[in-house]
Symmetry: none
Subunit: 401 residues, 2 copies
């Protein structure tokens, strides 16, 4: 579905939608056992499954392993092949910086260089965020680049955001992060002649940082990647006529949600705080995006049992509270798979439940990959889900005479 | 598949196809019971199912609620996002008026205005067609609009067709039907400067109608919507090399079929007449589109039991007679869902049977939504069905060497 069609069909009124994303939810069966979802004990999700319709989604497309940006864009109905969010824009949005036209953002890793100038640790020992804040402040003190204003903001641990503001900037600058250790960082290169001034400003920044941080044992340099300028996505309000909010614990998901025009207040700490904020605010919005991170973190750590436990925690802490709010539509799915056998994002499809009195039921009674392949939503790209979500909320008009 | 591919692959010869459309067939399961199709007793359809292949179709695309035009276009292999039929063109074709280039058509509701000029009843009490005919004749008598020839033809009950012929006409005129009661009708506005002459002609027509009908208690004015000009669709003969006919009881389905170049003789009254016409004419055509309306009407009236009964009537009255004709291919499906829980068209997928000795069988043995989701056709957009229908009739050549 394209912009014009949503413009034509989206209604101003309709049911309230609760969109629950368990990050990295998907997994796969092996000879030894089922996926994490298959092995987890989740009676509340199973009940929701038996009362709704189900399917298996490819977050971007079959075989594609998505980053968090494309994974969520697909779920929210924005075909990730047509809409793009760069890592820099995502970081900026997550920290509450609105990129203005002409601004350039990049993702920063504070890193540790050896005496010979090669990278000893790309993440500077995952230093505490407070220490990272001090490093950022040190780099900015005394920094002067002609006609360029620099923001260097700590994100979490070794992660930070670089934001350049000024006339004539251009994001087509190559990464300085070689994504490897034991080699020296790359120089900032313009990928287009128009970006040579920007590359030059970045080089000045890096020279300054190298000298200011030279006495430090760790976090004595910066690695930059994902140079990026403003991402202009049609907002939920424009595209779907939905007043939307996000409830999340991590800046990146705030970032994605902000880029889509969702209201993002304060990051929440812990699932109980997320649920109590949900209970308090659900009635004020047409659409609530609730992001649960623990499934992905466990998958990334290749910890099968912890991922099962995270699913079980979600099942008991979130689903009963969600149902008590009497939403018109509940969606449960993930933005991609993070099988603990991989310890990383993967291309495997992700199960989905669409629950609504307007959607009906299929015969699937168990929320896992094996069962949901038989569901009525079918096996499809995630970006095809959203029109069904809107339809189940009574928010799409009839097409054609 | 696009025009060029059909041009390349469609063969002149092949098997005979019977395409049975149960209007509004699809439905959904709730806590209490299955869909209408799941609850209906239809042994003949079940036998056809067990001997064919099955699937679930999205008439237009996932989540989209189609009108009858897009619903049928999709079934007939014309992607509704690429081909469009306006309501006016549909009405004109249904009544046997061929829109010439430059003609403008609109859908008319005879309505009842209160003394204060507001709309009391948008459908004028669904007056009898004969009374509507007299109203149309009254409006035309003494009407004179410079350079414009006007046709005002009754359709059924309060529905009529307006057709304007003349030089320099343009269909970009806004609806005068506000689609609400208690408000005054809208003035005809040009949506493009090129349509100002047309809007002016419509205004003259409405002034005349208002004065001529002013003494009437009901049906004392006209509401216009869906202004439209010629729709130029590639015909079944050009696109598929099929000589096709339609057998239907309602003008709209004649309209759709005529726009695709199917032969449409006389509207038929009742299912027995449709079946006897089928038996008589089936051998003369490559493709017969048989349209059954009662499923949709019952769904629209939110009458679960009547929709079940309509399915059962179709099962016993049509399927055995159809099989006795020994077609090479039988298709049974619907143009969209009309769940009786909605009482309206909906976005839910519709089951399909493709029966042919060339198609093989899957393991599905019951014709309903729950069973057909497991079928070999899969879960896909309706416009992807038609190439399989042609293939099952041996009417598509091999693609590539």
């Amino acid at each position: 579905m394209d912009e014009a069609l949503y413009e034509q069909l989206a209604l101003n009124e309709g049911g309230r939608i609760l969109f629950l994303v368990m990050d990295g939810l998907g997994g796969f069966r092996t000879a030894e056992r089922g996926s994490e979802l298959a092995e987890a004990d989740c009676p509340n999700l199973d009940r929701l499954t038996s009362e709704g319709i189900t399917g298996l989604l490819d977050p971007v497309a079959a075989g594609i392993t998505p980053g968090s940006g494309p994974g969520h864009l697909g779920l929210f109905g924005y075909d990730p092949f047509c809409y793009e969010i760069g890592r820099g824009a995502l970081s900026a949005a997550g920290l509450g910086y609105d990129l203005a036209p002409g601004d350039v953002a990049a993702r920063v890793n504070l890193c540790t260089l050896s005496d010979d100038g090669t990278i000893a640790d790309r993440r500077a020992g995952r230093l505490p965020t407070d220490e990272a804040r001090a490093v950022c402040e040190a780099v900015l003190s005394g920094l002067k680049i002609d006609g360029v204003e620099v923001v260097l903001a700590p994100e979490r641990e070794h992660r930070a955001l670089l934001l350049l503001k000024g006339d004539g900037l251009d994001a087509r600058v190559g990464d300085t992060d070689p994504q490897a250790e034991g080699v020296i960082p790359l120089d900032p290169r313009p990928l287009d002649p128009a970006a040579s001034r920007t590359a030059d400003a970045v080089a000045q920044l890096l020279d300054h940082a190298r000298s200011v941080l030279s006495d430090r044992e760790r976090a004595n340099f910066l690695l930059l990647r994902g140079f990026d300028s403003q991402t202009d996505l049609p907002s939920f309000a424009e595209r779907y006529r939905l007043r939307a909010q996000v409830l999340a614990q991590y800046p990146m998901y705030f970032g994605i949600a902000r880029l889509l025009g969702m209201e993002a207040r304060a990051l929440l700490t812990g699932i109980e705080e997320q649920v109590s904020e949900l209970v308090e605010t659900f009635g004020q919005f047409d659409f609530t995006f609730f992001h649960f991170k623990a499934t992905d973190s466990a998958g990334e750590d290749a910890d099968f049992a912890r991922k099962c436990a995270a699913i079980e925690e979600f099942d008991s802490a979130v689903i009963p509270a969600a149902r008590a709010l009497d939403p018109d539509v509940i969606v449960v799915t993930g933005d991609h798979a993070t099988p603990s056998q991989y310890g990383a994002h993967s291309w495997h499809p992700v199960p989905v439940i669409l629950w609504s009195s307007r959607a009906g039921r299929d015969l699937v009674e168990r929320f896992d990959e094996d069962a949901c392949v038989l569901g009525r939503i079918g096996r499809r790209r995630a970006c095809e889900l959203f029109p069904m979500v809107l339809a189940a909320a009574g928010r799409l008009a009839k097409y054609g005479a």
